[in-house]
Symmetry: C2
Subunit: 268 residues, 2 copies
Amino acid sequence: MNNAPIGIFDSGMGGLTVMRALVRRLPRERFLYLGDTARLPYGTKSGETVRRYALQAAHALTRRDVKLVVIACNTASVSLPALQEALSPLPVIGVIEPGAAAALQAAPLGPIAVIATEGTVKGGAYVRAIHALSAAPVVQQACPLFVPMAEEGLTEGPIIEAVAQRYLAPLMARLPKPKALVLGCTHFPALKNVIAQVVGPEVILVDSAATTAEAVARLLDERHLAATAKTAEHRFFVTDAPDRFARVGEIFFGSPIDPGAVEQIDLQ
Amino acid sequence: MNNAPIGIFDSGMGGLTVMRALVRRLPRERFLYLGDTARLPYGTKSGETVRRYALQAAHALTRRDVKLVVIACNTASVSLPALQEALSPLPVIGVIEPGAAAALQAAPLGPIAVIATEGTVKGGAYVRAIHALSAAPVVQQACPLFVPMAEEGLTEGPIIEAVAQRYLAPLMARLPKPKALVLGCTHFPALKNVIAQVVGPEVILVDSAATTAEAVARLLDERHLAATAKTAEHRFFVTDAPDRFARVGEIFFGSPIDPGAVEQIDLQ
């Protein structure tokens, strides 16, 4: 069991920022990544539809004998309770709770700003997770164009700066000014530099990829599930367009993805 | 049969620009619109996946007794032969052939430029349709950010102008300069003003919504299928998020959509 892989699931390739943090934090572990590229994006879809898709994806991972499932997608993390129940006793970790805890560590009294997709903002999962731990005020802003712009590699320059201004300037003009900004979508770490530039150095950026990697490391330790040996390479599964995944995924994974390691599967 | 509705299918709401042209051209007809919003966008998906989705959508329309199916989605129009075979003898019309014919009418010797989604460009359907009629040179450019920007209502102002420049300036710098520009995605008519401004008044914009409406009118006439009386209101079906459809759809339909006329259905 210890040498079984860790399953990571996302609607597309944004979750590769989480996998990147996991690979860095847990270099001995082996990962299976599943991106539901045939049905992305999840951010504009209803909670019920996202839950159905997330369950199908999680079962595709458990059929491949993973020891743990990471939902590396903020939108799909709204399905965390449903997935934990369906996969029990297999541990399931989402990105919301680690991100909320890290935001409170950065700014214990708030205000905390959360940027995310339309679906995550509407679902209010970060607000609930933060308020479960603290009364710190939380403000939210949907940034739907960040996802397609990051996927097009538009991670710097005047266009993405103008779009970031459009979303973030009103958020940062609020009084009192937010002290921490949660990157509540796994695509957003690719835009970290331009976001930091727009909000200014006094606002702490909370990247839930890194905090999720910490939470996974802790859980492996507590349950004595850490790998004792690395047995094979990482693998990637997508529901559509494996070539595009390997090509564009590099923006998020931070290193090249071998097209031969990407396999297309069907979830329906 | 004459008073049966016309079915229109799109991956989301872009096809509403085609429905708008159809309603204007054929005011006595009744339309059923189906947007596969749970699985949009199609533009980044493979031809095989798009074909499977398009067949499911077309069957959902034929179960509702339509007399004709319009594929109001450039990406899904690659499935036209498969749909025509599956639905025969029911007539099926796509947007590619009418758009190609209109482009050649505007610029018989070319060059013709086509802007579309990644999927449409990669599939090369416009190039094939134009070259089936003429040897006019064709150049293509994918404009993937136009879809999410139009859906966010970013149809004017400096951001969309900069994005339009990014896509269109290299296309228009080619020699000889294109004489006609095909808006090869049903979302793009919402960006017509900014596109016209960037390419200049000497380039003729070909909007396939209008040309498809003409093709449908002609086909109804030839097959004696035109409505003799309008029997009920238009209806809209979506596979997810009917509220968002009614709200954002207005950008493309050009007039308000009654949320009560939008029903959620399941295609799988």
